[in-house]
């Protein structure tokens, strides 16, 4: 009988420690360097492929979307109408795990090497994020995530190799989201194996994978929209040519 009570107590203790545990993670995200077979850097830039730094600043966020939010559908809807209002609505579903800007506040290599930003930070994170898919978001023109809706450009990236956000522990659990390339570019662009220009400061002439943001407030049509527009233009051109041809025929007949 006494042992039954002890068993129950052990169970209760286990539950209590789970509840009391600190959810500390040691998060790493952003740029990294491939050493073999040859040197390559992953860098971040604006739409014009100018590397972010203190003069061309952006907020660099690791985070996750609300549970149940359909990210793919949200991205599709945003691309169909990339208005400021729609972007503000979209980004309201995104939550930061951690963020830092490309300014000199991070103080490190990135200040001289525009576009190269590697963040390593340990902190206690929200239990609401546990088990969710992580994303990396770049927001040009803001330095605080509370102002995310006012960003002028955005990039959104993730990779299938990223583990789900861990529970964490009293001693920070390693959680590494650094990668030389992302296999999912949801917003923004990707230019692989580029020879970096002077737009990337000290990294000029090095090889890099560039992950860029795209403008907010300017509609970026889907390929199907381009096809429709091309069709309409072709139709208009044919109509115009036939009209010109008709006029010439009439002039000949009149002559």
């Amino acid at each position: 009988m006494k042992h039954k009570y002890l068993f129950l107590i052990v169970l209760i203790f286990g539950a209590v420690y789970s509840a009391n545990a600190q959810n500390q993670i040691s998060l790493g995200y952003g740029s990294t360097t491939q050493v073999t077979p040859s040197f390559k850097f992953s860098v971040f830039s604006d739409e014009a492929e100018v590397g972010f730094n203190d003069a061309n600043n952006a907020l660099f966020v690791a985070g996750y979307f609300d549970t149940g939010y359909d990210v793919a559908a949200g991205v599709t809807a945003l691309k169909a109408d990339f208005s400021v209002a729609n972007f503000a609505s979209f980004v309201s579903n995104f939550n930061e795990l951690y963020s830092d800007d490309f300014g000199t506040s991070i103080g490190d290599a990135s200040a001289a090497n525009a576009g190269f930003m590697a963040v390593d930070k340990s902190f206690e994170h929200s239990p609401a994020s546990v088990g969710l898919t992580p994303y990396i978001m770049a927001l040009k023109g803001v330095t605080d995530f509370t102002n995310a809706g006012t960003a002028s450009e955005v990039g959104l990236f993730t990779d299938s190799s990223f583990a789900e956000i861990p529970t964490g522990a009293l001693i920070p659990e390693t959680y590494n989201l650094k990668t030389i390339s992302y296999d999912s570019v949801l917003l923004g662009g990707e230019s692989l194996d580029q020879t970096l220009t002077a737009n990337f400061g000290g990294l000029a002439n090095q090889t890099g994978n560039i992950y860029s943001t795209q403008a907010i407030g300017a509609n970026v049509p889907e390929p199907s929209t381009y096809a429709m527009m091309l069709g309409a233009l072709s139709f208009g051109f044919v109509f115009y040519k036939r009209r010109i041809a008709g006029k010439k025929t009439d002039q000949k007949q009149e002559a």
């Binding site: 107590i9 203790f13 420690y17 040691s26 360097t33 103080g107 390593d120 001693i171 000290g202 090095q206």
Partner: protein, 371 residues
């Protein structure tokens, strides 16, 4: 308290002549301790360590006057700014420790950082309140640093990489006094791009000791480790690493500040201790189970936490056996509420995390565990 054997006595004949020749003002015994940091083949690769060997004493004297932020020593021989410096976190690089005080023995072991030294006034400015310490004997030491413990160029042999995630990590904990804590992370960075960078530094911030605050500052190696402070090292590689740490052995009692929440603390003396021998029970909240008690966390040989608490069983009088239905009163290990854990051993050179619920800070006063 269990009396234990000094692990370093055998080394004394070798090191004592060297170190004592440099120590003109203090005569603590000297020696070394080997700190073993477990690899991932032994478990999770986590080890809690202390730095119990003290740096050489730079000065010792008697306090002849004090205010809330200064002490005066009329016989002082220090120069202006002789013991002054701040590490990258803004912590003083030198400290005074009270080694004896006939007026108030409870102050022995108090450690206060030095902010300024003034030779004309024979005065030290401190970052704590030394008032009332008139007549106390004290010693000045320079703090250990990341570089002094693990080697300026990582002679300890920790795994190095291009960033924190690819390196072994040394954790320092800061308690904010309100149950919150911040972990500082330190690692030895090997920058693979040094040869590519025309400046010769390396695009990743260069090679050397770095932290989660800076991947490029060569000053990180000067980060202070206080003698009361514990560290946790996380290895990412197989195989143990041994750090040999020479220095003096503390021969006076110790005083460690304990705040609300988690406190990563040193064991102060280079000997193994039992849980009961820590003398920590009186400052911890004791309840009928672990959730209603303060706790002591120790990282075991497999890199996992053993969690201890002092259980007070309210049912002892009800139980005909006299033990108590909840497992009795005394030190317990989480999950083993009926097994006495007071003789559980904390190995020499290890650290522990003390979790304390009470908002009011207190001091853990530990006595010298050997004669």
């Amino acid at each position: 308290m269990k009396k234990t054997t000094l692990v370093l006595l055998a080394s004394l004949p070798l090191l004592a002549p060297i170190l004592e020749a440099q120590t003109t003002v203090h005569t603590n015994p000297v020696g070394f301790i080997n700190l073993t940091i477990k690899g991932t083949d032994a478990g999770k690769g986590l080890t809690g360590i202390s730095v119990p060997m003290l740096p050489q004493a730079l000065y010792s004297g008697v306090i002849t006057g004090s205010t809330t932020s200064t002490i005066t020593d009329n016989n002082a021989t220090w120069a202006d700014d002789q013991y002054v410096g701040l590490d990258p976190n803004g912590s003083p690089t030198h400290y005074i420790e009270i080694t004896a005080n006939a007026n108030d023995a409870t102050t022995v072991g108090s450690i206060i950082g030095i902010l300024d030294s003034d030779d004309a006034a024979n005065e030290l400015s401190l970052n704590g309140d030394p008032s009332g310490l008139d007549g106390a004997s004290y010693v000045i030491r320079q703090c250990h640093t990341i570089a002094s413990v693990f080697g300026d160029a990582n002679s300890a042999g920790l795994t190095t990489g291009q960033d924190l995630a690819s390196s072994d990590v040394i954790f320092k904990m800061t308690n904010d006094g309100n149950a919150g804590m911040v972990w500082g992370q330190y690692y030895y960075q090997t920058d693979p791009t040094v040869a590519l960078d025309p400046t010769g530094v390396g695009f990743l911030g260069g090679t050397g000791w770095r932290s989660d605050k800076s991947s490029s500052s060569d000053l990180i190696k000067n980060t202070v480790i206080l003698p009361t402070e514990g560290l946790i090292v996380r290895r990412i590689s197989d195989g143990d690493v041994t750090v040999t740490l020479p220095g003096s052995i503390k021969m006076n009692n110790s005083k460690t500040q304990i705040l609300k929440g988690y406190n990563l603390v040193s064991l102060n003396y280079p000997v193994e201790m039992t849980l009961e021998g820590l003398g920590i029970q009186s400052m911890l909240r004791s309840g009928q189970d672990s959730s209603s008690s303060d706790r002591v966390y120790h990282i075991n040989g497999a890199g996992a936490f053993d969690i201890y608490y002092y259980q007070t069983d309210p049912t002892v009088a009800l139980d005909p056996t006299g033990v108590g239905f909840l497992g009795g009163t005394g030190w317990r290990k989480s999950g083993f509420s009926a097994t006495d854990a007071k003789d559980s051993v904390i190995p020499a050179g290890h650290s522990v995390i003390v979790y304390r619920e009470d908002q009011n800070q207190t001091d853990w006063n530990s006595t010298v565990p050997f004669n």
